[in-house]
Symmetry: C2
């Protein structure tokens, strides 16, 4: 039982609670399932209208799973299907209602996460931010495929575009410049 184990354990425990609570808060804010909420959040942060396949990659689903998810979102009036750049592909875009839901989701997530940092001083939060960035870079390095790491991530807060996102930077170092919404 090393110190490393102890530290790792706290990290794992904390990650689990926070993820649980965030997913629940997002789902509640959307009135939808957690994965639907994640999809709305992702769509909200795409600059262009992604294809179903792109969304699929982000959420880590199978093609058919993604189709069904979009079906449900269309059904709920949160999303519309449009033509894709390709004859095969179709684009997905938020409706006005979908955009409102996505905004609520982001707000709920931000509120919850900010709350967890309540007891920390300015300096402590700064230090924590730096350290978490390092860890995040580690995790991204280790990752191959699967769901987008920033599934519910807030791209503005993330500063991905400005190169502030530790995940994006680490990924960039490894894979080279990605396309905008990758």
């Amino acid at each position: 039982m090393t110190d490393l184990d102890r530290e790792a354990n706290v990290l794992g425990a904390l990650a689990l609670v926070i993820t649980d609570q965030t997913a629940a808060a997002a789902a509640a804010a959307a009135g939808q399932s957690p994965s639907a909420a994640a999809a709305l959040s992702a769509l909200h942060h795409f600059l262009d209208r992604p294809t179903i396949d792109r969304l699929r990659q982000v959420l880590g689903l199978t093609p058919s799973g993604a189709v069904r998810l979009v079906d449900r979102l269309v059904e709920a009036g949160l999303v519309t299907r449009g033509p894709g750049a390709d004859g095969r592909s179709r684009s997905v875009a938020l409706t006005a209602r979908g955009r409102r839901a996505a905004t609520r989701i982001s707000a709920a997530r931000a509120a919850l996460l900010s709350g967890t940092l309540a007891g920390l001083s300015r300096t402590e939060r700064d230090t924590l931010h730096g350290l978490l960035g390092k860890v995040l870079a580690n995790v991204v390095q280790a990752k191959e495929g699967g769901a987008w790491i920033c599934r519910l991530c807030d791209l503005d807060a993330c500063g991905r575009a400005a190169g502030h996102c530790p995940a994006a930077n680490a990924g960039l170092a490894k894979y080279g410049p990605p396309s905008v919404s990758d």
Copy 2:
């Protein structure tokens, strides 16, 4: 877009990846679903033989969900039902095979989590540990009911018994001394 938002966002993103990967690793190590893996891990860390209801609380399931989960684990030969202290209740205990599976799960989880801390120095890890403890305490304070926060937590690493667990300490401050496996 404040600094707080940015810090909170990194925390949320990191928590999500780590939780995803941990659950996947645990499930793979057990050859079972993530929730079955969580159940095995929980059972492994109970000092006594918990009842189904106790397990239910830990995992955040409904009674029927817990019964079905135990059904599956029994079916897989990982767990046995025994008599409870009470005529109503029944106890659950790991079989030898279940114990081995639980050990694999813990090891897989520990390996993954330790890996995420790879790039950090001794001092950095120490600082991080302290800060995460504070955050964890915050989260526990905010929490009412639901799943056990340390669902996959390693109780040895946690140092719960010795009073080193930030979650347990925060909970203790709020609710008073819990029973051993709470």
